[in-house]
Symmetry: C2
Subunit: 318 residues, 2 copies
């Protein structure tokens, strides 16, 4: 996300001042090279309030976006307390610094469709006015963050805009996520590196949005989103995972058999999650650029490129 | 709360084993003497997970009740981050220790009517199925605690029962709370120590429940409350603050004038908050023992006693 966001901001205005901060070092080299030299970077822990406070005090940002959080539901079940404490306390350290400094920065609070909890097909598409019902530690942290945003916006006048972001796809996404994993496996099959595709529950329907469109939506919300409001960031379209896999196989010309692995099936998952993006569109004029087919093309190209590079296969020899 | 709870448990079963823990030392002497010698007490910080974990590991409690939290809305506005982090992280350290130890302890999560947020008169009495809408840092922390309780109950099988507790009254309550402040002032007027009563907004209606009934409700919920369920702990009756003040003046035979102090009026307060206690009653058979009139008698007696003691006035000479 940070890498795509940096690239987006620089393409819009090469003179933009970007300050990045993370507990991990800034990525450089292939994939990360757009950032090096163009970002003022601080390495440290967002759980250290003074460190966060000092960065905001020094740079007086116009806009702040927090992408520092554990974002895996599975991880949150393994480490519930760590996930909740990190995600909420990091966010609090940021907005509390903005409050204390009266910095006037506009803040984007990134939430998740997981906040809606168990929903039924008749509730689709999900709208922001629906009540939340978190059923995992990750979702509980996102709801807490959203509630704190509301309190800081209404109670202290902070200019905070909240999202409920749906499933991301895009080139560069780790293959712990289903679509990226499918694309990698399909590409491996095409390169003769595997003869079958392993998957979880292919029956579920999700709303996928390309990370590059997410970045655009976030930037628009930081420009035009209303203080204290919540916006779904989604495509508004549902695809069954089986369809996504078929699209990938067709695009790659692969016909490998598909095998279900029970370990990849989540307990009690929602059968269908599709969001309404009307509020986002009418508030910001957002139109997405990447439909799912185009995203899948780019994801396949990403895996082809990185697998060929890793295995020493030259694209020209294929 | 802890003092009343200890007294209640000991009166029910003098052989009960009570383990207390707090960052402040155990109160002894008048008011606190019921605890000394009857409670195994640990002094330390609940933010220290290992300390919490070790106490639960050593004593293997059947029941755990967490009363360690900042409970003032006003304080939470002054110290939002401290209030949120303390209240949620303390609670997480407790339930996460119970989870890791597979201790099987039943846990009471104490929440608040503040979780309901802005409500209108037609929503009365408030029922547990209504959606929450926290509008201050304290309430946001209580909602987070409740959501975490739900996740730990459904996801890890912890036996957690949640309350949404309404306004407490009772002898011994500090006079930062309205009813205790009124009773103290009325008593001071009766003793000739003041000639007028100062108050905030007397027009609001609240649901008051005596701390001794709260203790009984909590004990019943720890016995009979259902895992993952939420219960209002309230009287089901609404009293306007002006009525409460009139009752106190009548009982004390005081006719001092009443003066409104704007600094005591909260911004944007709910005009009416009354809860439904049907769910609590049908689940546990709870019946309250102290109606408001009886509570006020005891609160007046408490203040008479402590003011006379403080000023050296003997009751016999009056």
């Amino acid at each position: 996300m940070g890498e795509h966001y940096t690239r987006y901001l620089l393409s819009k205005d090469p003179s933009v001042e970007i300050v990045g901060a993370d507990i991990k070092p800034l990525r450089t080299g292939p994939g990360g090279d757009t950032q090096a030299g163009k970002v003022t970077f601080y390495r440290g822990s967002f759980l250290d309030k003074k460190w966060v406070f000092d960065i905001i005090k020094r740079h007086k940002p116009d806009r702040v976006i927090n992408l520092a959080s554990y974002s895996s539901v599975a991880f949150s079940w393994e480490n519930p307390s760590e996930c909740f404490v990190n995600n909420t306390n990091i966010f609090l350290n940021i907005i509390d610094s903005v409050r204390e400094l009266k910095s006037g920065a506009k803040v984007l609070s990134v939430g998740s469709s997981e906040e809606y909890g168990p929903v039924s097909e008749k509730d689709m598409p999900l709208e922001e006015s629906m009540r939340t019902g978190p059923i995992n530690p990750y979702a509980a942290a996102r709801v807490a963050q959203e509630n704190l945003s509301g309190v800081y916006a209404a109670g202290y006048g902070l200019d905070i805009v909240c999202t409920r972001s749906f499933n991301h796809v895009g080139p560069g996404q780790p293959d712990i996520f289903a679509v990226s994993s499918f694309a990698r496996q399909v590409t491996e099959a095409r390169l003769g590196l595997r003869d079958k595709i392993t998957c979880g529950n292919l029956g579920i329907v999700r709303d996928f949005i390309d990370v590059r469109d997410v970045v655009k939506a976030y930037d628009l919300l930081l420009e035009k989103g209303k203080k204290g409001e919540i916006y779904n960031v989604c495509s508004g379209e549902g695809y069954r995972l089986s369809e996504v896999l078929e699209m990938l196989k067709r695009k790659a010309g692969v016909d490998a058999p598909v095998e279900k692995n029970a370990a990849l099936v989540r307990p009690a998952d929602n059968p269908v999650i599709v969001g309404s993006c009307r509020k986002l569109e009418s508030a910001t004029g957002f139109k997405r650029k990447y439909d799912l087919s185009r995203s899948l093309d780019d994801i396949l190209a990403y895996w082809k490129n990185s697998l060929e590079r890793a295995s020493g296969i030259s694209g020209k020899n294929k």
